[in-house]
């Protein structure tokens, strides 16, 4: 038996596999539902997915999952063969329910909890649905289906029945050699599954080599296959089928080694005796044939579903973070070596050449590592289909979700924090935005609503918009509500400002709380989540025409483009993204107001100046405005003018957070967002314009 650790790795694999499969299944179902037709290809695919889930769940002894998957597998094998007339959306509904159950179980497992018992009602619905389809079909084509209908249950119960039927029959000694796919992951786990599976039908199992996790064993199995000796009453073909059913098994060669000498049986069973040589002769052909067949089958299977596992591996994000850190350090060390003061003044032609080469490589490495963390937004966009579907059914609204630019890539960390906000925005659009069908028709709109989810990359940042063609926001209602709740601070707000009121905590215009939205903890949480990853959210709307939510996100959190500015002896980094312009103030363009605050007029507008030296208490910095530089930065529509000694140039910097120990002090509130290590090894602080602007 495997120890716990081994078991864990099986579970991990099971979760990984099941997650992939359920995702695949979901997209197939959504597609089928949209087309109101399950194509033959998709039926096969669903069948295959259910079959795999059934298999691996049974192997992990999650019998409830395996049972329900079996029922569905059965249903689809029936649909595949008999092609009954079915109600596509009804069928999809049922499969969705099962899918949700399986998903939930996987989630439980992933969180280290036990799987739950299958809800009997669900199982019953599915089962009776399968029965219903079958009987409908039987009734429709009574003549034709009769024999087939009979055949079906027999086939269904095939394995156990046959096994039972043969229980009294003779057991034989077999030797099976199992070969696995060349790139099969967790080979020893798979091997263990083979033996486990055989254990259900066979006795006296011994295997060579012994299964442990060592590389030697794995290597041996890869080369020579896993050799298993056992006794069983099944025929070699049946055994072969059982083994080859297991994921990643390439071929299995089953050889009959002889029957077990049990005197009383041996005499009185000539038919079996007869069958054996037959089996044996069939068997001798088997290996070559089986292999050829398997090799034939292999590419065919690949075509149906490109084997994702072989090209994609899942990596712990912590490892990637470490990798980025190390690459960052390499880049820094490289420039420390190349700009080493010891080399100063020497002419080193060869050294410079090699150094150049090194720089090129490290640059490439850096780009590559950063790109590894980038994930297409498709991952979360595709989830939205399901939400639109489910809510559409519940709210009886017909809505088309249009997705644009789903291959836009963003950093993994950014993406993780985006899923919830997006889900919420879509829900809001469905619930509040899109009007009921009648109202739409009355207003001369198409009865089918439209929600557009779009992502695009604009160089420095990614912009995601969620727009609907619903009723739009009611300005007056928002204002009244805000006044009621005491959220209104000033009068004469611009449209933009009014719409942005809905992002405030405690604001929810829906009178009634519904299942999907309206608890008033929505939009402000969305805003918080977006801001957590350095993004912004804006609301725009036109009454009667629809609402558009725009989320602006940085491409990555790990690297930003920064402007280095010098203040006294210190170098600070200002994110280039937030800089709107830099001004060299001329003599006299700066003046003070009555409270001694310095101001500058730029193109007719007056701005207060924040001196970085006073903000950070730096001595020895330039105080004369005409000798320094003013950097105009913008955050959320607010302009902040920072005064520094001089600009030092622009470069991409790796963002590091400040040491934990400093968190208890107020540095962050002063406007320090993090720090970075410059090429010469010195540390420079990165300014957080949002904090400075909010002062």
């Amino acid at each position: 038996m495997p120890d716990n650790k081994q078991m864990d790795s099986y579970i991990e694999m099971f979760i990984f596999e099941a997650n992939q499969l359920t995702e695949q299944l979901e997209s197939i179902l959504l597609e089928s539902e949209e087309n109101q037709n399950i194509s033959e290809e998709n039926i096969n695919e669903i069948f295959r997915i259910m079959h795999t889930i059934k298999g691996s769940a049974a192997m992990m002894s999650f019998s409830d999952i395996s049972n329900i998957a079996h029922t569905l597998e059965d249903l689809f094998s029936f649909i595949r063969e008999k092609k009954p007339v079915i109600d596509v959306s009804d069928t999809c509904d049922k499969v969705f329910k099962v899918l949700d159950y399986i998903r939930y179980q996987i989630e439980l497992l992933a969180n280290g909890k036990e799987v739950q018992k299958l809800d009997e009602a669900l199982a019953q619905t599915i089962r009776s649905y399968v029965e219903q389809i079958k009987s409908n079909n039987a009734a429709k084509a009574a003549e034709k289906t009769k024999p087939a209908g009979k055949e079906k249950p027999a086939e269904e119960a095939g394995e156990p029945e046959k096994a039972a039927g043969k229980a009294g029959a003779k057991t034989a000694q077999y030797k099976a050699t199992v070969f696995f796919d060349d790139f099969c992951s967790l080979l020893s786990a798979r091997a263990f599954m083979v033996i486990n599976r055989l254990g259900e039908h066979c006795t006296n199992i011994t295997n060579f080599p012994e299964l442990n996790n060592s590389d030697n064993t794995v290597g041996y199995i890869m080369q020579n296959g896993l050799e298993i000796n056992f006794e069983s009453s099944l025929t070699p073909e049946e055994i072969k089928d059982i083994i080859e059913d297991i994921t990643d098994v390439k071929t299995a060669v089953v050889q009959l080694m002889g029957s077990i000498e049990k005197k009383e049986e041996a005499e009185e069973e000539p038919p079996a005796e007869k069958a054996q040589p037959q089996a044996e002769s069939a068997e001798s052909k088997e290996p070559a044939e089986a292999r050829a067949a398997a090799e034939y089958r292999e590419p065919a299977g690949d075509k149906a579903r490109p084997n994702v596992k072989q090209n994609i591996i899942s990596v712990n994000i912590n490892k990637l973070d470490k990798l980025i850190n190390i690459v960052g350090e390499i880049v820094i060390s490289e420039s420390m070596v190349i700009n080493n003061p010891d080399l100063e003044g020497m002419s080193l032609e060869n050294f410079s050449k090699s150094a150049m080469q090194l720089r090129k490589l490290t640059d490439e490495l850096q780009d590559l590592v950063l790109s590894v963390r980038m994930i297409p937004v498709e991952m979360i966009f595709s989830k939205m289909h399901r939400i639109v579907r489910d809510m559409g059914k519940k709210l009886e609204k017909e809505v088309n979700l249009e997705i644009i630019g789903e291959d836009t890539e963003v950093d993994k960390n950014v993406l993780d924090n985006l899923s919830d906000p997006l889900m919420h925005l879509i829900r809001n659009s469905m619930d509040h935005g899109i009007e009921p069908r009648d109202e739409r028709i009355k207003n001369g709109k198409s009865p089918v609503g439209r929600i557009t989810l779009e992502a695009k990359n604009t160089g420095g940042e990614v912009i995601i918009t969620v727009s609907d063609d619903g009723r739009g926001l009611d300005k007056q209602k928002i204002l009244d509500k805000a006044r009621d709740k005491g959220l209104l601070k000033g009068e004469n707000l611009t449209d933009q400002e009014i719409f942005n009121l809905i992002l405030l905590p405690g604001f929810s215009t829906k009178e009634k709380v519904t299942e999907f939205s309206g608890r008033g903890v929505g939009m402000d949480v969305v805003k918080q989540n977006v801001e957590k990853v350095g993004g912004n959210i804006f609301v725009d709307s036109e009454q009667g025409k629809g609402t558009t939510m725009t989320i602006r996100l940085p491409l990555t959190l790990a690297i930003i483009d920064g402007m280095m500015v010098k203040v006294g002896e210190n170098v600070y980094i200002i994110p280039t993204q937030s800089i709107s312009q830099c001004i060299k103030p001329s003599q006299g363009s700066v003046f003070s107001d009555t409270q001694g605050r310095d101001m500058i007029i730029v193109r007719g507008s007056c701005y207060a100046i924040t001196k970085l030296q006073t903000l950070f208490n730096i001595e020895g910095a330039v105080t004369d405005y005409s000798k320094g530089v003013i950097i105009m930065t913008e955050y959320n529509g607010r302009t902040v003018c920072l005064f520094a000694d001089k600009l030092m140039g622009q470069q991409p910097v790796v963002v590091k957070s400040l040491p934990e120990y400093l968190n208890k002090f107020n540095s962050k509130e002063t406007g320090i967002g993090g720090c970075t290590i410059l090429g010469d090894g010195s540390i420079s602080l990165i300014l957080d314009i949002a904090e400075i602007a909010n002062k």
Binding site: I332, F616, L662, F665
Partner: protein, 162 residues
């Protein structure tokens, strides 16, 4: 970084570290801290000041790509400050997974002090300095003040600030 001495805590058993202290001095007084907290000792490096921190936090340094804060022990213990020179060291300690550099005048030696040679400090915990003293050790008739590393970085500093 010629005077870098890395103490590989992983290889040494907790047991062998017991009773061993790293000592450093300010003028007359000798202080020591338990060696199990020490990860390495580096020479003084360029320090980047950070705004809005108490004066004893001099800023942050780049320790081979890792950014760690440094504390000037003289200021922390309210001693007269003096300029850093090439004997000035940064002792990097790792306390509950937080790395902090302690700036000291110089590092003396690694001492073994048996438990029986350690006496608890007197019971008046008023002085800034005393608050961080865990015990007083005697080695060859020299008095050594043993620092309480955990307390050194503890939340008490917050009270001090407010």
């Amino acid at each position: 970084m010629s005077n870098t001495a890395t103490v590989d805590t992983d290889l040494l058993q907790e047991d062998t570290l017991r009773g061993r202290f790293l000592s450093f001095s300010f003028g007359e007084e000798i202080f020591a801290l338990e060696i199990k907290y020490v990860t390495e000792i580096v020479g003084i490096q360029p320090i980047t000041p950070v705004p809005e921190v108490p004066d004893f936090v001099k800023g942050i340094i780049n320790l081979r790509g890792k950014v760690i804060p440094v504390i000037d022990m003289r200021i922390k213990f309210r001693k007269p400050t003096c300029d850093y020179n090439d004997r000035t060291c940064i002792i990097v300690v790792d306390i509950r997974e937080i790395s902090v550099g302690l700036i000291v005048d110089n590092v003396e030696e690694v001492l073994t002090i048996a438990d029986e040679n350690i006496v608890p400090p007197p019971d008046y915990r008023t002085g800034i300095q005393n608050r961080y003293i865990k015990g007083i050790g005697m080695v060859d008739s020299k008095v050594i003040l043993l620092l309480d590393c955990a307390r050194l970085l503890s939340e008490e500093e917050l009270e001090e600030l407010s």
